[in-house]
Symmetry: C2
Subunit: 220 residues, 2 copies
DNA sequence: AGATTATTGGACACCATTGTCCAAACGGTC
DNA sequence: GACCGTTTGGACAATGGTGTCCAATAATCT
């Protein structure tokens, strides 16, 4: 683009340490997410990674294998993020509504409006028919695991008397749905949302959720 | 595919009445939804529509204009479907929960799991960056309009004393989110769902919604 | 330094696709 | 039957992409 091919790339390299593989993985992720599998071109990925096209073929052999490697990597990262997020779920909250709202806001930030997560979700949905097993892997490690572990968290809260929940799995799915209510379709094209909007949305979702699942005042 | 090129196509035609334009529009819709804009080929569309490639260029001139025409058509249909659906919202229900559940099930069938609707949604999300104005049009006539008119329906129910709702727009978004909770990600690859599953999901969503928005028993 | 390995750029064959042009065949209409 | 607009198939150039081969070059290891 800016003609940095002729300057014999002095600032590019320090090659060897970070191994170009990472650069390829990163660039390929961006290009694939932007243009899809069919629309992405190896040449563009190579140039965006500051790497020769041949290097890509040396390491991955194939456009399809490169794609799968990229997706596997992204799914893995995303699952890790999700794990650390769920670990912050309140266990013995002093102010249930406030702490649940904080958690919901964190969830929105890292699982709904987050750039990487949204790109990955869009990508998977886009290519779900071409790579079904990939879709299944994502479902298990992403939304599926989120719902499952969240259900366990909610069940603990219910067991401690904070909530009244018959079906924790259902409640978890509904919690996730409510929390994502305001951003479902919108974060696909414009992913940066003001912090206040996120907090307001989280608060509204938690308020409704609690109205549905808080134990009745006079009941046991 | 099956060699019907040499049989001088006797069963194909009765041309003139349905004007090949419709066949092209239909086939193009399917191919575009399946393969996306970049992945779809004019040749495939032509052959799937039983039409010469040149005919497509005669009518639409361009792949991009064909794409836009197809999308406009699909958005229009989808909006019409949505309109007739919302018209069935219960106004003075005898059994609120039952009638709301029926409505929710209809909504799932025609707006969440419906093949055409799901394909369109996927398509729009996929190409949102390439055709932003299209995305905006869809948002206004699709989810946006759904939330708006549903909010009016809910406000009427609240005004009649069936529900207690502070913010009808928010309630509408949450209703839609709850109703779609079980199918959000799943209907993108396998859209046919058993009727019982739809009914159960609708019932669960409405139950939670009503627990959150039903007037308190002893309160005004 | 010498050997080994990764990387590079460039040329190449191959293929699919877009969009154009055109002459021939075909559809109704008068 | 003659006329006019549409449709058709096929040929065509141009483009852009994939994947391969290879010789030269740079980095790393011993």
């Amino acid at each position: 683009m800016d003609g940095d091919k002729e300057v014999k790339r002095p600032p590019l390299g320090s090659r060897g340490q970070c191994s170009k593989v990472l650069a390829v993985l990163k660039a390929a992720g961006e290009v694939f997410c932007r243009d899809g599998f069919a629309g992405a071109s190896i040449d563009l990925i190579a140039s965006e990674a500051g790497v020769s096209r041949q290097t890509i073929y040396n390491h991955y052999g194939d456009k399809e294998r490169l794609f799968l490697a990229v997706l596997r990597d992204m799914i893995e990262r995303s699952a890790a993020d999700l794990f650390t997020l769920i670990a912050t779920f309140p266990e013995r909250p002093r102010d249930l509504e406030a702490e649940l709202t904080d958690f919901a806001a964190r969830y929105i930030r890292s699982c709904v409006c987050n750039r990487r997560t949204a790109s990955l979700r869009k990508m998977i949905q886009r290519e779900a028919e071409r790579f079904p097993e990939l879709f299944a892997t994502w479902r298990e490690n992403g939304p599926g695991k989120a719902a499952g572990t969240l259900a366990a968290c909610l069940a603990r809260l219910a067991h401690s008397g904070y909530l009244h929940i018959d079906d924790p799995d259902l409640a978890a799915r509904q919690f996730i749905a409510l929390v994502g209510a305001d951003f479902q379709g919108s974060c696909l094209v414009d992913e940066s949302r003001p912090e206040e909007e996120i907090r307001a949305s989280a608060a509204a979702a938690v308020r409704t959720f609690l109205r549905a699942f808080i134990p009745a005042e006079g009941a046991g």
